[in-house]
């Protein structure tokens, strides 16, 4: 591996991200599965970095998942998106930041399509007016939330308490980065580092002291596949894709997987559990599996957030071995507690993959 080659590509694929004043749009999946990540994101950007992130209570799903599950026509998805843009405009913002990769892909695709087919844009403008009586608008900047963390990765590094280093060996942790497919595969120029060697997560890993693992199936989809997950009969497809990735990364013995997509951490996490149940195979050392975290969770960890405030207990793969490697103190008792120490019971132990 010749790192200079990658650096050259990274230098070629940079994009401007405005410094402040963002309109923040949430992700359906992350709100449901990784609520701590969005909370952490806003806390880091607003409170630690002092940035203005505005959230409008009237924004909704972008419809991207429904669109990519082919349940709604393109025009519907575009009109929902136009409504979100209109909300941004109404709120006085022009820098649009979304928390979801599917959304990011849909927004990018929509903007590009409108650009290429103005008659379609006109049609959507009309639809928006007919349905919501809102004024059509387009953002000046469109960014994914991971772009923001990438932009401020060195600022975060300055506030870092627990770098991505194994405290016992002093060596950097081996980190696998997994990029959501819709981040840059459709429009390589819209992502940091392009489509082949995305830098958005690599930049964070390197800034925070970790070592990036580049394994053969690095670029590949986690296997969500929208309808391939939503229908139980199709889930073998999804599981098989994740399985392929783990088989490929296994020899590198990664300590951690970091993702920037809502669904990927869910699949990379839960399919490990299912593969273990079905085949008895676990990845990572000692049968614990390899934790798959969101970039906010990793940012939170290195900045010294309490792991349970980040929501790491919502992962099936046990996080404790990683915390111990990084030397992050944690209170095992608080893991399964609600507000004010309320006892929420404990999840059952899976039969194969180890839990603490």
């Amino acid at each position: 591996m010749i790192i200079e080659g990658k650096q050259k590509i990274w230098a070629d694929y940079q994009k401007d991200i405005p410094d402040d004043h963002y309109f923040y749009v949430r992700s359906c999946i992350r709100q449901a599965f990784w609520p701590g990540s969005e909370v952490t994101f806003l806390d880091i950007t607003r409170n630690k970095l002092g940035k203005d992130f505005y959230e409008n209570a009237y924004h909704t799903t972008c419809g991207g998942i429904a669109y990519h599950s082919d349940t709604i026509p393109q025009e519907t998805a575009m009109t929902i998106i136009a409504r979100q843009f209109a909300l941004m405009k109404e709120s006085g913002y022009e820098n649009y930041v979304c928390s979801c990769i599917t959304s990011f892909g849909c927004y990018t695709e929509t903007l590009e399509t409108w650009h290429e087919y103005p008659e379609l844009e006109a049609k959507i403008r009309q639809y928006l007016w007919d349905s919501c009586k809102k004024e059509f608008a387009k953002p000046k900047y469109l960014a994914h939330a991971s772009d923001i963390i990438y932009k401020f990765r060195f600022e975060i590094a300055k506030q870092m308490k627990f770098p991505l280093v194994n405290v016992k060996t002093g060596k950097p942790l081996k980190v696998v980065e997994h990029i959501g497919c819709h981040y840059s595969k459709m429009f390589p120029s819209k992502g940091f580092g392009g489509a082949e060697y995305p830098h958005v997560l690599v930049g964070m890993i390197e800034a925070w002291g970790g070592e990036v693992v580049d394994y053969p199936e690095r670029r590949h989809c986690c296997g969500f596949g929208f309808r391939q997950y939503f229908v139980q009969a199709n889930r073998g497809y999804s599981e098989s894709n994740t399985h392929k990735k783990f088989e490929s990364m296994e020899p590198y013995e990664p300590d951690l997987i970091i993702t920037n997509c809502p669904g990927c951490p869910y699949f990379l996490d839960r399919w490990q559990y299912v593969i273990a149940e079905q085949t008895g195979k676990t990845y990572g050392k000692n049968g614990y599996g390899i934790p798959a975290l969101t970039y906010e969770e990793v940012a939170g960890l290195v900045m010294g957030y309490d792991p349970w405030d980040l929501g790491l207990q919502m992962h099936q793969v046990a996080i404790e071995p990683l915390l111990e490697k990084m030397g992050i103190p944690y209170d095992p008792k608080r893991k399964y507690q609600g507000l004010n120490g309320k006892d929420l019971g404990q999840p059952m132990c899976p039969s194969c993959i180890k839990s603490v």
Binding site: Q232, A233, R235, G236, Y237, E239, K244, I275, Q278, S351
Partner: protein, 103 residues
């Protein structure tokens, strides 16, 4: 635990691990097998191909890609009529190769 789904086998031709015994044996007696240009003439003219999926071009590829079982199944359809040999632009002695595969 019953999940209602399971891992699917990969369709990738894994060139690193495939078994080429039959093809290599064939190559020894019929060096011609290497010279196919996949023009499809054999398939287009195939008498058995009129009724089945029989395709010599594909058969040869199956052997080269380690799908011996499929190849052996396909070759059972062949009538050995020899039209393929007559139309092959590379002059490959297809009929002989077909016969040799069944040995």
């Amino acid at each position: 635990m019953e999940f209602g789904f399971c891992l699917s086998p990969s369709s990738h031709v894994k060139m690193d691990t495939i078994d080429l015994t039959t093809f290599n044996r064939l190559k020894e007696t019929n060096p011609d097998v290497n010279t196919c240009i996949a023009c499809g003439s054999c398939t287009a003219t195939c008498t058995a191909g009129n009724f089945t999926e029989m395709s010599f071009r594909q058969l040869l590829l199956m052997l080269q890609r380690g799908k011996e079982d499929e190849a052996k199944k396909m070759i059972q359809r062949c009538m050995l009529c020899g039209k393929c040999t007559l139309v092959c632009p590379r002059g490959i002695n297809i009929r002989k190769i077909l016969l040799d595969i069944t040995r």
